[in-house]
Symmetry: C2
Subunit: 415 residues, 2 copies
Amino acid sequence: MSEVIEKGKLAKQASYQMGRATTEEKNEALEFISEQLLKDQAFILEENEKDIEYGRGTGLSQAILDRIQLNEERIQGIATSIGQVTDLKDPIGDVLEQMEHANGLQIEKKRVPIGVVGMIYEARPNVTIDAASLTLKTGNSVILRGSSSAKHSNIAIVKSIHEALEKSALPKDAVQLIEDTNRETAKELFTLNDYLDVLIPRGSQGLIDTVVQQATVPVIVTGAGNCHVYVDGSAKKEMAEEIVLNAKLQRPSVCNAIESLLVERNWFQENGKDLIAKLQENHVEIYADEEITDQISGLKQATEEDWGTEYLGLTISVKLVDDVEEAVNHINTYGTQHSEAIVTEDEENKEHFLQNVDATTVYHNASTRFTDGFEFGYGAEIGISTQKLHARGPMGLNALTSSKIFVTGTGQIRN
Amino acid sequence: MSEVIEKGKLAKQASYQMGRATTEEKNEALEFISEQLLKDQAFILEENEKDIEYGRGTGLSQAILDRIQLNEERIQGIATSIGQVTDLKDPIGDVLEQMEHANGLQIEKKRVPIGVVGMIYEARPNVTIDAASLTLKTGNSVILRGSSSAKHSNIAIVKSIHEALEKSALPKDAVQLIEDTNRETAKELFTLNDYLDVLIPRGSQGLIDTVVQQATVPVIVTGAGNCHVYVDGSAKKEMAEEIVLNAKLQRPSVCNAIESLLVERNWFQENGKDLIAKLQENHVEIYADEEITDQISGLKQATEEDWGTEYLGLTISVKLVDDVEEAVNHINTYGTQHSEAIVTEDEENKEHFLQNVDATTVYHNASTRFTDGFEFGYGAEIGISTQKLHARGPMGLNALTSSKIFVTGTGQIRN
């Protein structure tokens, strides 16, 4: 039996016991995990160092090495974040619907765990802990498949989790790490329909595309963000500048940062030069349409490809539009349904934009950077779903739950 | 451009207008469709007759011909069912979550349409109307892909729908029928990620398996039902008999009918012969385990395969178990997570069963036949989801919706 099937079976078997676990049992286990990680810190850092050395040897970029790197401060941060998950309200058992049938049947739809959650992810070993603590809190089993670049770190962390679980009332088998990071084990996970209830990929667009194309198990897509700010004709100059700069600059490498700026033509004639200058002052490389490059020198010419590009860095594309309708059409054509903002003082244009832009989160007069589970008050974030089914936008604990209908009777039969 | 891509584009384009449609506009369009179907009745029946004749020629079974057959009464029934959808509360715009950020941002999660819903189904032309009316009511576009056996009927029905939509405020393009029923058009639909937000297969297990294996678009699985009744040691004799007979006999061909009966050993010693006799009186063919066939003659020997078989007819498998725990393990091994019942007077065994059986709907002292959107008060049913994500159990209008987060500010930026 392959490692994936063997661990899939164990995770499935453990998931029944997980479904029965009380909030107290789950919270106690999380506390044990937090303690054990701190206890095992030296060993984990040692193993992490092996990944870092190996990564240096194989020429990984400094950015990726940064994501793999652990240190005492980061492990303390991880322990703290487990504490935060412990403090969250347990959603399992919540009554979602309730009715009494005319024949007296009591019908209750309640929140239950999903069962077995698969996570496939790249680099960051902290995802190993995040995923484990959030899935355990929601009564699920989890199958973790990290990347080879964090292999030693992940094995060390899961060893620590297992030691903690053995002291707890939860089954150790609820957390499974696929240690073989060969491409084949990822493929096996994509089609593990007998044991896996959902697979959540976290990582590059390439990984996500592969999962969408190849998975036969249900998937939650946490997709890319080609996000826009549209500055409408009636936008206040200073507000527009602040929002555009914040959405582009506050953290350019993340999915809710903007990649593209749409500006109403007349507003641009009056205020465009200042806005462009501010972006340039902040070292933002600008790809603009012809109308803009004709007026302002030192900008690069945008091509069709730019409208669909997620730069994830200090680059932005800029395009003039006639009105909010053109802006909406552009966004619905090139966007990735993530986070989209309009800056306007016009009530009608605001409504048109918010209603017609197809995205997880739409903004009026605010930065797109708020699309985040913590900012939205969920107290946790498994990722940001850009699909329409099950969960949309930042995913908190509820996204890791399903529902089940409990019907209790006194012998009722159907006529 | 292929028919599927062309119609996919039209449906997607229309979906934006559908998303803005008011409840009044949607209800008016549904009324127009109902009227038009009655007006076009003669033509629809003529076209339906072509399908029937063709089906007879190709040797379709009487059961399938029955599903294809329309008549005045059935069309009247369809018109009535559209009226029922009109009367349902429109879920679009419902506020699902609401919060104010510390910085004053107003954050609202609202119910919105999914966008473009694909339905792939077999035989029954009434599904064409059901799917269209439910998706229009929820502000979606729909792409319908029926089977070749109902091709003429489906084309006639959609012609009628289009005439009605042209008189309405809704876009005609919101309802698309793929007329080419070649296998290739189904395959194209499976991977129409650019235009299709979800695909719902309705039909045989073979169709559903194919969709799960091949689709890259998100799918809602409306799966098979290998359902069980477990008669516990403390079950009342008469109640157990009534529930077993109802769950098996009231409509044996449907997914929430039982296929398998589990009986606690001691209860069986006392009451088993009578229960078996009642099933036999009702012409139920019985495949039983060796312990039973040793005691009662005239039964067939069950094999391993029987525990996993959905007979969908007057056949049942019967097995003795030690206790509720063995029953739960058996169901979680061989069941299809659909509808599962326990008959017991024991509170502890009831709780163990309801908590640990992994199924969309679990029953205590009631027939499994109640798993149905109408019985559960949804006023409609698109199908019964047997997956864990998005929707589980009978799906009403809410299953055809997604959510979107509306954030309104006064210039807030992230620190």
